[in-house]
Symmetry: C2
Subunit: 340 residues, 2 copies
């Protein structure tokens, strides 16, 4: 098998550490990859490029169409746009898939039976980036919801559920208030749902749905929802499953795909070799599946699971009752490699 | 003491049942109230009044300036506006105070030490109600944040913290994406915070803040945040404290105030005498404090607490381990009255 070209960005904060750890594991497991490294994020912003990315990097992305990305820091203030969002939009990555799974009894969680996949719309909503200052005292941001956008993500969610033998898709909206925008999402959910009579379907008002998710995540299977709700509730779901440090995310478009951890660059934890590389590793496992390297993906997942099961834990999931050894980022990667 | 005139609406769904229970308790406890009952909500909508409220009801509200309101149902579809939001905006109720408290060990919760007060901005944000259909495929909703709106709610939160001897105020925003609107909220939080050096202050990005809240609510004290985040996260907080059925809410303006349960009208549970009246009762207790009837407020709270402690629970908080008797709405009220 000839190696698949992928684009890799080491990111900011804890990014370089977790990317190094992840790439070690991929290599040791025999993933057939030809990484092209691009520089994006803080260093590029600070050179005065407010997009945080240069033309050569876009060329690499358009060529490989597969992007493994570590977290990026957006400088505070000024006109800096989030590069995460720019990338998702520029590459048309309309679906953000975030599995939030408990690994009980190996990792402490109050929700041992949790296994939720959050499918977040990834281009529209308040993330459309249309914001302006009307006067010094009045600021506005436009929430944008389109019918094609709704159809695409909702169909994706139902297809995903079928392919992964999942029984139910839940839709979260606030259409008692936003009757047009969230109302459209809800309406399209009902319309598209007709094509999937084999899959149970339900809609929750996002406030009470969020409460149910935080309290009884076992009640959910696949959840499809607009961008901002998905942002907030995937962090909630990942954290109560064990740690935001463990969840990976696939950003899927018609042409390209990007894989990442769901968490941020945690600048205060940078350079200390303490971060959990599992989130990015899960993104990488999703990537391997995406490019057809199923066997390696499974091998890595199993070795990772054995590492957890044997109580070799980074600080974020360490607990006296559940862990045997507290390890740093690179030691965790070595432990996974030893179990491949 | 001459009775304080208040306006009362029995609402829809479970509303009439929990209002009846609540008013019985208030009366038995010796609250000095002269209730004026108004009809609002579903019946009024269905008579063709899309506002769900008639002029005489507004007159009562403007006269008494104190409103005890049961949950209301907004009919699905059509041009019906949420009356909850109309009332908050028409009466200028800019602050929504939602205490979310655990009552361990009497009520089951995974977060026995939780005691969070959510102070939600109540007039702006996506609730401004500016929404339109651009084409058949494109819908928009305007998120509106103003400097005076931010200043008012944030100052309210800090003053509340001081008055209630609370140590910390946390601000939740998504200003890495919404740099203007949420950026303004964050900026004003920092500016106003300067006047409260005695109170600890912190800001969270709403996604990771929500994750922390769902996982470790003990880490928070007072939280101030824009309208929609407050809507979602107060349901989360109330539910993980024990039940959304237990939390009350005070909607405070310069002239008027409205008190309610944080939950909805639960039409599917209506007419069965099973709903927990505690949320509305807590709203009523906040109301008694607001109008200066502190002693009665405390008496009711203590009797309510004793009822819980003795394991007399409605279905939503019933558990074999923590409860002695499962009771209906009116029986719960009688049990509280017996302990006054
Ligand atoms: C960093 C931020 C722009 C991003 C988002 O809001 O989407 C992150 O929170 C995420 O969930 O991937
Ligand atoms: C019923 C609904 C309009 C309302 C809101 O969104 O504010 C409710 O959820 C609440 O939190 O009081």
């Amino acid at each position: 098998m000839s190696p698949t070209p992928i684009t890799v960005a080491y990111g900011d904060g804890i990014g370089p550490e977790i990317m190094t750890a992840t790439l070690h594991i991929l290599q040791a497991a025999g993933a057939q990859l030809a990484p092209e490294v691009i520089e994006i994020g803080e260093q590029v912003y600070l050179r005065g490029n407010s997009a945080g990315i240069e033309p050569a990097a876009w060329e690499s992305l358009r060529r490989t169409r597969v992007f493994l990305k570590a977290p990026i820091t957006t400088p505070q203030g000024g006109g800096y746009k989030s590069l995460n969002v720019t990338t998702r939009k520029a590459l048309g990555l309309f679906a953000n898939i975030r599995p939030c799974v408990a690994y009980a009894p190996f990792v402490e969680t109050r929700h041992p039976n949790m296994d939720v996949v959050i499918i977040r719309e990834n281009e529209e909503d308040l993330y459309a980036g249309i914001e302006h200052r009307q006067t010094d005292e009045v600021y506005q941001c436009l929430k944008l919801i389109t019918r094609p956008g709704c159809e695409k993500i909702i169909r994706y969610a139902f297809d995903f559920a079928r392919q992964h033998s999942r029984k139910k898709v839940s839709c979260f909206v606030k259409d008692n208030i936003m009757k047009f925008t969230d109302g459209l999402f809800h309406k399209v959910f009902n319309e598209v749902g007709v094509d999937y009579p084999d899959i149970e379907q339900e809609t929750w008002i996002v406030d009470i749905g969020a409460a149910k998710l935080a309290d009884t995540p076992e009640a959910f299977d696949v959840i499809v929802l607009p961008n901002l709700y998905g942002d907030i509730l995937s962090d909630v779901a990942a954290q109560i499953a064990g740690s935001v440090g463990m969840a990976g995310s696939a950003n899927i478009g018609d042409q390209c795909a990007m894989f990442e951890a769901i968490h941020g660059s945690a600048p205060r934890r940078a350079g200390q070799d303490i971060a959990n590389p599992s989130g990015l590793l899960h993104g990488a496992i999703q990537m391997l599946t995406h490019i057809g390297q199923h066997e390696v993906a499974e091998r890595i997942h199993n070795a990772w699971l054995r590492t957890l099961e044997e109580g070799i834990h980074t600080y974020d999931i360490y607990s006296a009752a559940h862990s045997r050894e507290k390890v740093g980022t690179q030691a965790f990667a070595k432990a996974v490699i030893a179990r491949l």
